[in-house]
Symmetry: C2
Subunit: 216 residues, 2 copies
Amino acid sequence: MRRLDYSLYLVTDRALSRGRTIGDIVKAAVAGGVTCVQLREKEASTRSFIAHARLLLAQLQPVGIPLIINDRLDVALTVGADGVHLGQQDMEITDARRLAPAGFIIGISAESVEDAVRAQDRGADYIGISPVYATPTKKDTAPPLGLKGIRRIRAAVRLPLVGIGGIREDNAAAVIAAGADGVAVVSALVAADCPRTAAAALKQCITLARQKGSSD
Amino acid sequence: MRRLDYSLYLVTDRALSRGRTIGDIVKAAVAGGVTCVQLREKEASTRSFIAHARLLLAQLQPVGIPLIINDRLDVALTVGADGVHLGQQDMEITDARRLAPAGFIIGISAESVEDAVRAQDRGADYIGISPVYATPTKKDTAPPLGLKGIRRIRAAVRLPLVGIGGIREDNAAAVIAAGADGVAVVSALVAADCPRTAAAALKQCITLARQKGSSD
């Protein structure tokens, strides 16, 4: 199984980008230390989603940062992205695995220990624990799982875990300390005044939390 | 190239179904003479779209009626549908062909002679001429092409042509007479009091128009 560096995982959101292009935000965030990018386009047509994905892939491949596509396996396969991220209303992982090439990354959103165990059993590459904290970015999310939820999922599965939902500079270290391998953020980077500075600050929190964890 | 019977082509629309299930409407319409079904789900989640497509495929395969999926190649490949129908804002046909298995049907919506010629050059299996007449079913469509548009496209391409947009019992024959191989309908069947009777009436118009055409 291919294993990515999920330390600081940026999930895009065009509506939060304050007039800047996704490409510019991603470029700055990667310069600041983002290790993985997920392109999420809930409103775009298929053609437009593919065009955006191709642009982003051309930008990320030369710098060795993986591109994950939200929900749409057709888009991911068309552009040759590194993987797809599937929520509980998206394609079943078993269907996606059947259509995807070898080495293709499939991430699954888990809102409970049961979701996480099922995703691992069915062959997920990583799990997005969602939401860790309350977040205004996504509607209709499950109740926040909190640090306790991360610890419970960490105890139940061996896959890489990425926390998402309401994670910022002031709570990222706690998410890592609770057992997550990385933190995923939307607004903390997409809506930041300076995505590069914001990414660097988050990355430092994650690095320090890991050092502290390994020295405890 | 696999060639379907496009004579009477039903395109689904959940919002127009007046509380009936798509399965019940399709069953009645097929009993009345529908030869091809396209599942269109513009609002559904990927998981729900796949579930609907599986149900419809299980219903159509035993009676030998092909199922085409609107826009979403991922859904079509997942369930093993006969093909996909792509609009001008959907995936490019060249991308779809690369991902699809041999014999997979790809239909393209053409709003002009140029669209139709390009679709043929790129390997489409059939062309949906859209819209033939003004229609309240779809928003943001191009100006109606009319019978003149069908004749011009018929003269320019050899592919099967299916007219769509505002086609009903009183104008279906003219669409066939102008050179279409079939007519596609949404509201004329989905919103009909009795989809079976409505399908049978449309089918008769098509059959008579063909007999007249071949005896002229």
